[in-house]
Every structure is written in structure tokens, then in C-alpha cells.
């Protein structure tokens, strides 16, 4: 038996009885709504909290030293990959998608928009070039923001010179992004943008399944690189993308099934 009953008259209940008296003595004033908790401050520690806070930030900074180029590549590529999912999902409301596809698209936008922010922060925190996303209709443009510019934020980022890809790229890397697994071609995007109603649903689901499968593949690649995904933030993010996108793939297949 897990739950062991205790005799009811323990010290806590004695305390509560006294507390009851406290309440009843209040009664002569006939105020029933006031039930003040016994005034007491939480116990405080003797350790110096300012020192602990400095230690906290120092540890947070040093926890960001533990990454390899495969991590940087994954984050950089996944930003563009997610950005295309935004382009696709934003079409749903205006292209008369069904209610469930619109709900799915809204959830994808919310999730992947936030994850883009997380990935950009991850790169910035590590002094790496950060892909800035610009979307103009169906056109995706990625500009690399120079990693150096952001070293102002975190002085501890200074010794990352051995990592490749450091420094201003500043070029439009769009052409490269279509090579990633699951990325749609510009023709496919235009095809999707022209579809309406059920036809849109069908195309959207088929394309997004492919797109998500690409992301899952990218996670697998990350995990098969030596020394990659040791950083807790990238491990959690990549595992999360893996689990959530597999879940969405299943849901989308069922939705597609129902249409057909």
C-alpha cells in the first residue's frame, strides 16, 4: 500500500486548530471575507545571491562553448527550412483551406516562427553568422548577419576562431536552400499558391509531409555527426523538432487520407 494514513491529530492539525481560533476571534468584527494568511517571510538563504547570479550567467556562457560545425550547419539550414514552412502555411487562410488545415497551418506558423527565433539566438550566442529571414510573398531571402557584430552582447564568445563559417557572408543564400531535403522548388510553391479549397488542402498536406520528412532527415543527420547535439539547447530543440514533426506527419497523412 502506497498511501499510509496518519493519525489525524498531528502537529499540523493542532496548528490549524489554533489558526481556527485566530479566525473565530476575528468574528466579532463580523468580517467574513477576510482570511489573512499568517504573516511570514519565506526562509532565506545565507548564500550571497548576487554571487550566485554571476556564477549562473558565467555558466550559461560557458555552456555555449560545446558545439561543432555540424551543429552550426543544422541550425543555419533549419532556419531556412522553417522559413519555407511559414511561406506555405501563410497561404492557407487566403486559399480557402478547410478549417482543420487552417488550424494546422496556424500551429505550424506559431511553432516554427518561434523556433526560428530560438535558432537565431543559438547562433548569435555562439558568435556565429545568423541567417536573417526575409519573406516577400513566395520569395524567401536569407541574408547572413555577420557573427562578429554580435560579440558585443557576450564577451565570453571571443574565442571561437577555430570554427569555420565565421565572418561576414552577407550574400543571398537562397539558391542553396532548395537543396535541403524536403524543400519545395519555386514551381511547386507557385503551384500551391494557385490551388484553392480542397485542391489546396491536398497539395498543402502532400508538400508539408514531404517538407517535415526533410526536417526529420536533417535531425537524423545531425545525430550521426561526431560531437554534435551535445549542447543541451540543440539536443532539446532537435529532439523536439523530431518528435513534433513526426507527430504532425502522422496527422497530416490521416487528413490527406480523409480527403482522398
Amino acid at each position: 500500500m502506497l498511501v499510509m494514513p496518519q493519525q489525524p491529530f498531528s502537529i499540523p492539525s493542532l496548528f490549524l486548530s489554533i489558526f481556527a481560533i485566530f479566525l473565530i476571534i476575528q468574528l466579532p468584527a463580523c468580517s467574513s471575507s477576510e482570511q489573512a494568511a499568517p504573516p511570514s517571510e519565506p526562509a532565506t538563504q545565507e548564500r550571497n545571491l548576487t554571487d550566485l547570479e554571476s556564477l549562473y550567467w558565467a555558466r550559461i556562457d560557458s555552456s555555449r562553448m560545446n558545439f561543432v560545425q555540424a551543429d552550426v550547419d543544422f541550425m543555419t539550414d533549419m532556419i531556412a527550412h522553417h522559413a519555407q514552412a511559414l511561406i506555405m502555411s501563410r497561404l492557407a487562410p487566403e486559399n480557402d483551406a478547410s478549417r482543420s488545415v487552417q488550424a494546422l497551418a496556424a500551429r505550424i506558423i506559431n511553432a516554427q516562427y518561434d523556433e526560428i527565433g530560438t535558432m537565431q539566438k543559438w547562433l548569435r550566442d555562439r558568435g556565429q553568422p545568423v541567417p536573417e529571414v526575409h519573406i516577400d510573398g513566395l520569395i524567401l531571402m536569407i541574408h547572413m548577419e555577420n557573427g562578429d557584430d554580435d560579440e558585443m552582447d557576450h564577451a565570453a564568445m571571443g574565442h571561437h576562431d577555430h570554427h569555420a563559417g565565421h565572418g561576414g557572408m552577407g550574400h543571398d543564400a537562397m539558391a542553396h536552400h532548395h537543396d535541403m531535403p524536403g524543400m519545395l522548388t519555386q514551381d511547386q510553391l507557385e503551384e500551391l499558391a494557385k490551388a484553392r479549397g480542397t485542391e489546396f488542402d491536398r497539395k498543402f498536406l502532400a508538400f508539408m509531409i514531404e517538407h517535415h520528412e526533410g526536417a526529420v532527415y536533417m535531425v537524423d543527420e545531425l545525430f550521426s555527426a561526431d560531437g554534435a547535439a551535445l549542447d543541451r539547447e540543440i539536443f532539446d530543440l532537435a529532439s523536439g523538432i523530431n518528435a513534433e514533426q513526426i507527430t504532425e506527419i502522422e496527422r497530416m497523412r490521416l487528413m490527406l487520407e480523409e480527403i482522398e
Binding site: P8, P28, R251
Partner: protein, 661 residues
């Protein structure tokens, strides 16, 4: 003797009260209800959780209907690492951490004491206890068999631990690392199952959500689909058997595929606009099939196929007749169902297997059930045979939830799933985030089937630098009510009542400002659980917080006193215990308060009951027995006049037990 002194004081206090209040006021208090129904109690407005100042150990805080007893930062080696889940044994709270685990002595909750800080890095280090054993989950790639802090850099390595670590804690001050069980996906979480019919072994269910490790590292690990490799590590959980006499012989004994053959997830029914389309189709005389909880318009091609099938079955040929058409209308639901089943069976690989893994499984052995939070599905699992769990129901959610954990109410009639949208690292409680996303979904269990009731989400908008989503929690044993305490990461913690599963209500909370105003750093509450009268909070960054409930319009002091009569020797939140309440005056009074609050018994009877309980408690011996027995009989006779005769009878039963001493 202990109750004697307060009893006299109570009597005196009551006299003073009567003396100084006017008689009409006193009369009102005896004839009308003193407690507001919980739906009528006002909540703090504006919500004080909005706009709290940022800080790591000095963030601004707000608290409502709780008292913070203490807050203690983690030991130095664990500052900057992430605190995770909790398990409890005796007066100890064991807190997992990405760096290992911490054992806190909480016998003085004003000042919890670190007795062990065990460095042994692995994410997430979810912890469980049983007897002298401590189990710790390892999932991340850097976990080492030797607990080293240097990590493992190679993709394939003999040093890596992904699975379950087992420690001997017979001397809790000196945990001894005695065994490992390696698994293919590592252990994101795990649940310890104590089989009531087996006192020699316990079972550990392992859930993993990370990718499968290479076969070169752990033989037999395959991430092929099961139709290519029947031993695939996908689409299954692992069951580890631990012989209590020889825990170092723990091993995987089965890998049940509890997900196989899941059908299309049911939805909450059709949206109004979709229902309107169906209604118009019915009016127009089209074929509409009832499928699960929804209605489907059957398209013309399918109707033609069904009709030819009917013609064929009667041995006929050519065009279907009016009679065939009538027959189809009768058989449509069955034919449609059969068609869908065939189609589901013919689906592409993986699809008929349903989810690929579970995030967490909550075992509730007393009712023989487990709640599996498995990707897009919430599963109800029969665990009466621990080695061979069987799925009995599955639900999916039209809001695309990613199910993370499950909690049952005490009598097992309601199950609550959490949607850990964004994995806990994203800010999903902003004003712009829908209430239904990253929330709890509450289902009732009727004849082994789950029926959706409502969503519940911590309602105070949080900033974009606060990771926030539904996370771990546990039931609080307020007798007769379903009340839960829950973590929301940087959304703080809250307590809510879901006794009415369709209308959950928040009744207490604590929140801190973000760790930082300008950058999202992971933090907040990972888990909070009730343990022997305390609410113990594992704060990811800030260590261990201890709270207690304070009486409020939502919960009376009697109800809190009754909850505090429940005592546990140990507690693993993923192995849910059934609470039982010993007979006590507090219990009888708590039930009386509930009858009062819910207007379920006339006030005259409630007043008589309260006075009788007070009188009985002040006396002893035969006189006490007589009062209690008479009061019990009186309550039994009045039960039929109550809107909740069950509760009145429970009071009578409690009084009789007290009378028997």
C-alpha cells in the same frame, strides 16, 4: 490530551464571538450558507502575474492562496544546469538535474538541506524511487557510464549511457551506482510499476523520444520501419524487469507495440459550419454516414460502389433498384466503416502503427490503468499484466496537441493530458497564443472510452522571454474534489479544481518574473507535486521551492486539514497512488463544508452537523460515542434529502468510524 486545550479555547472564542456580534447577524450565519460556490468567487483582477520584474534569484514574485515556506538555490555544482523532475522517499526529495541529481532533506521545510549532490551528467535525469533503489533516466548524447563530466564526442562509443541508471540508496547519504540498462532511444522519462501480484520484481516502463542510436553502439538497435525489421526500436516502449533481490540483473523483458493499428483519430465533432454542410446534404437526400462521433457525406463514386456491391450480393446484375438504394441507407454506416477500415489497413507503412513513441506514461496500478501521452495520441492502457500492457482506447485532438503527460483524478473517472507544445523551451503563453494550445485537455473515462470535456491553461499572459507551456503536476488529496497543482515553466505554478471536468477553475498560483527581460533563457518550474502536505517545486534554475496551501474561499482549512491526514512513504509522480482518507473530524468537517459550498444540503442540517461534530470532539468516552452514533444515524436519515446523498453517507460513515475509535 492534545485536542483538549484548543477545544476549550475554541469554545471560549465561540462565546466571545456570540457575545460581540448582534443576534440577527448570528442568526443569519446559522441559516444561510457561509461559503460561496467556487464559480462565484472573484479572481484577482488585473492579474498580478502580468508585468513582474525580471531577475535570476531576485525576480519579482506574486502569490495567491499559497504560502511560500522556503526557496533554496541549488548547490554550486548545479548552478547554471537545469533542474528536472522529482521523486520522494521518507523525508527526502530527490531532484533530477542535467548534471546528475540532488537529494534534499525536507524534514524542516523552512530550510531544506542538501544531503547529496551527485554529479553524473545526462539529460533529463528523470528520477524514481522504490525501496532502496533509485532510477535515473539518461537520454542525451553526452551521458557517460562512468558519470564523467567530459561528455562523449564520438557517434559510436562504449562509454555512452542512454537508458536507465540504477543506484542503491539504502544509505541515502551515500548513493551507490550499481547497474545500467541501455536502451535504443535512451530514456527521456520512465515510470516504475509495482505489480500488486508480484513482490519479487518491479517494472520500469521506458519512454524515449530522441532518435535511435546506431546498431554499432548498442546491438539490435534499428530505426528501420517494423515492416522491414520486426525488431525496430520505433513504435514501441521498453519494459525493464528489476529483480528486487538482484537489481543488477535488471533487463528489458518486453517491448510492447501498444500503438499498433490505431485508427483515424476522432475529433471533437464537427464545427458548426461543417455541420451545416452535412445538414444541407441530408436535406438534399444525399447519403450521409455516421462515422465515429461525426457524420460524413459519402461521395457519389463511393455510393455507386456500395450499390454495385449490394446488387452483387443479391446475385443481381445491372443498375441498382430503388430497393437496393433503400438497403444501402440501412447499411450505410456499416459499409462505410468497413470501407474505412480496409483503407486504413492498406495505408502506407508506419501509418497503421500510430505514434512512434510515448513521451510519458502515468501508471495507476490501483485501477489497473495507465495514461500514455504518446505524440499525437492520448492512450488509455490496461496494465493488469505488467509485462504486456494493452491499449484500450486512444484519442487525438483537433488542436494538434503533442501529448506529454497524463494525470488521473483519484477515482480514475477523469484523465488529464498535457500538450507540451514547443517542448517546454518556447514561449507559448503569450497573449497571442491560443488557450487550447499548450494546455491541458481533460477527458472523462466512460466504459473504457475517453470523452473530451474541456481545456485548461494557465490564464495569465506571459512575455516572449518566458518559456511557458503545460508541464508536470499531481493531484492534491482534498477529499471529495479533484484538485491539481501544476508547473507551467516560467508561467509559474498554479492550483486548479477540475471536479467538474467541463469547467476547470484556477484557485491558487505563484509566479516570478522572467530570468531575463531581453533574452529567453530556459527556466521556471519543471515539476511541482504534493507530498505529505507540502507543494514541492523543482525550479529549473532557482533550485527547490516549498509551498503550502492556505485557506481561502476556494478551499477551507478543514479541507486542507483533511488532505494533510494523507501520508505517503514514497512517491513517484509517474506512478500515481490512490489516496485514502482515515476517519477524522477534519474529514467530516471538510465534507460538511463541501455540502455547504455546493448547496447540496439544507443549512439547518449542516449547522446541526457542525455543532454535533464540535460537541463530539470536546467530549470523550461513551458520551463521545453516543453523540457520534446519533449524529451518524441522523445524517443517514437526511441523506435522501440531499442533492449529494453519497457525500452525506460518507460523513455518516466517517462519524461511525470515529465512534468505533
Amino acid at each position: 490530551m492534545k485536542q483538549f486545550v484548543p477545544a476549550i479555547l475554541l469554545g471560549m472564542a465561540a462565546l466571545i464571538g456570540i457575545y460581540s456580534c448582534t443576534s440577527t447577524e448570528q442568526l443569519q450565519q446559522t441559516s444561510t450558507s457561509t461559503l460561496l460556490p467556487i464559480t462565484e468567487i472573484e479572481q484577482p483582477y488585473p492579474d498580478p502575474r502580468v508585468g513582474l520584474q525580471a531577475g535570476v534569484f531576485d525576480a519579482e514574485e506574486t502569490i495567491w492562496n499559497l504560502r511560500m515556506i522556503s526557496t533554496t538555490p541549488p548547490p554550486d555544482d548545479f548552478i547554471g544546469s537545469w533542474g528536472t523532475d522529482l521523486a520522494f522517499k521518507d523525508n527526502y526529495a530527490i531532484q533530477g538535474n542535467y548534471n546528475g541529481f540532488i537529494i534534499w532533506d525536507i524534514s524542516n521545510p523552512e530550510s531544506p538541506d542538501v544531503v547529496v549532490d551527485f554529479l553524473c551528467p545526462a539529460s533529463q535525469s528523470d528520477v524514481s524511487v522504490y525501496g532502496d533503489l533509485l532510477f535515473v533516466s539518461g537520454e542525451g548524447l553526452g551521458g557517460r557510464l562512468d558519470c564523467g563530466t567530459e561528455g562523449v564526442r564520438e557517434t559510436v562509443s562504449a562509454d555512452r549511457l542512454r537508458g536507465i541508471r540504477i543506484f542503491d540508496i539504502s544509505d541515502i547519504h551515500e548513493p551507490e551506482y550499481i547497474a545500467n540498462v541501455q536502451t535504443c532511444r535512451g530514456s527521456h522519462t520512465h515510470s516504475v510499476l509495482v505489480d500488486p501480484n508480484d513482490d519479487e520484481n518491479i517494472y520500469v516502463y521506458v519512454s524515449g523520444s530522441a532518435p535511435v542510436r546506431p546498431e554499432e553502439e548498442l546491438a539490435g538497435c534499428s530505426d528501420a520501419f517494423p515492416d522491414e525489421d520486426p525488431d525496430s526500436a520505433l513504435f514501441r516502449i521498453e519494459v525493464i524487469k528489476v529483480p528486487l533481490a538482484n537489481p543488477e540483473l535488471a533487463e528489458i523483458v518486453s517491448s510492447p507495440r501498444i500503438f499498433d493499428d490505431l485508427e483515424a483519430p476522432p475529433t471533437h465533432g464537427l464545427a458548426p459550419e461543417e455541420q451545416a454542410v452535412v445538414d444541407r446534404a441530408i436535406e438534399a437526400g444525399r447519403f450521409v454516414a455516421n462515422y465515429g462521433e461525426t457524420q460524413r457525406i459519402v461521395n457519389d463514386g463511393m455510393v455507386r460502389n456500395f450499390l454495385s456491391q449490394i446488387v452483387e450480393e443479391r446475385g443481381g446484375e445491372g443498375e441498382p433498384t430503388e430497393a437496393d438504394s433503400t438497403l444501402l441507407r440501412e447499411r450505410l454506416d456499416d459499409m462505410y466503416m468497413e470501407f474505412m477500415e480496409e483503407r486504413l489497413a492498406a495505408r502506407g507503412r508506419g501509418l497503421d502503427l500510430g505514434p512512434n513513441q510515448c513521451h510519458d506514461i502515468t501508471l495507476y496500478p490501483e485501477i489497473g490503468l495507465a495514461g500514455g501521452a504518446c505524440e499525437g495520441y492520448g492512450l488509455l492502457i490496461d496494465i493488469s499484466d505488467p509485462v504486456n500492457p494493452v491499449r484500450i482506447d486512444a484519442v487525438a485532438d483537433s488542436n494538434f496537441a503533442y501529448w506529454h503527460s497524463a494525470t488521473f483524478n483519484n477515482d480514475g473517472t477523469t484523465v488529464l493530458f498535457t500538450d507540451e507544445w514547443g517542448g517546454g523551451t518556447q514561449p507559448k503563453c503569450r497573449e497571442t497564443d491560443p488557450y487550447e494550445w499548450g494546455a491541458n485537455a481533460i477527458y472523462t473515462i466512460v466504459d473504457g472510452k475517453m470523452e473530451f470535456q474541456s481545456y485548461f491553461k494557465m490564464p495569465a499572459p506571459q512575455t516572449s522571454t518566458e518559456n511557458c507551456v503545460a508541464h508536470n503536476g499531481s493531484m492534491i488529496p482534498i477529499p471529495g474534489r479533484d484538485i491539481m497543482v501544476q508547473s507551467w515553466y516560467q508561467g509559474g505554478i498554479n492550483v486548479f479544481d477540475f471536479t467538474d471536468p467541463a469547467n476547470p477553475i484556477e484557485i491558487a498560483y505563484h509566479d516570478r518574473g522572467p530570468l531575463s527581460d531581453d533574452r529567453l533563457e530556459i527556466g521556471g518550474s519543471w515539476s511541482i507535486y504534493w507530498y505529505n502536505g507540502l507543494l514541492i517545486n523543482s525550479e529549473i534554475v532557482r533550485g527547490l521551492d516549498i509551498f503550502e496551501l492556505v485557506p481561502s474561499d476556494f478551499i477551507t482549512e478543514n479541507e486542507i486539514a483533511a488532505s494533510n491526514t494523507v501520508r505517503m512513504d514514497y512517491f513517484n509522480p509517474q506512478g500515481q497512488p490512490m489516496f485514502t482518507w482515515p476517519a477524522s473530524y477534519a474529514l467530516a468537517r471538510a465534507y460538511a463544508d463541501q455540502l455547504d459550498r455546493n448547496r447540496e444540503l439544507d443549512m439547518q442540517s449542516i449547522q446541526m452537523l457542525r455543532t454535533g461534530i464540535d460537541r463530539a470532539e470536546r467530549t470523550n468516552g461513551n458520551e463521545q460515542t453516543r453523540i457520534l452514533t446519533e449524529l451518524a444515524a441522523e445524517m443517514e436519515s437526511r441523506a435522501t434529502g440531499s442533492a449529494n446523498s453519497n457525500k452525506v453517507l460518507k460523513i455518516a460513515e466517517t462519524l461511525r468510524e470515529l465512534a468505533e475509535g
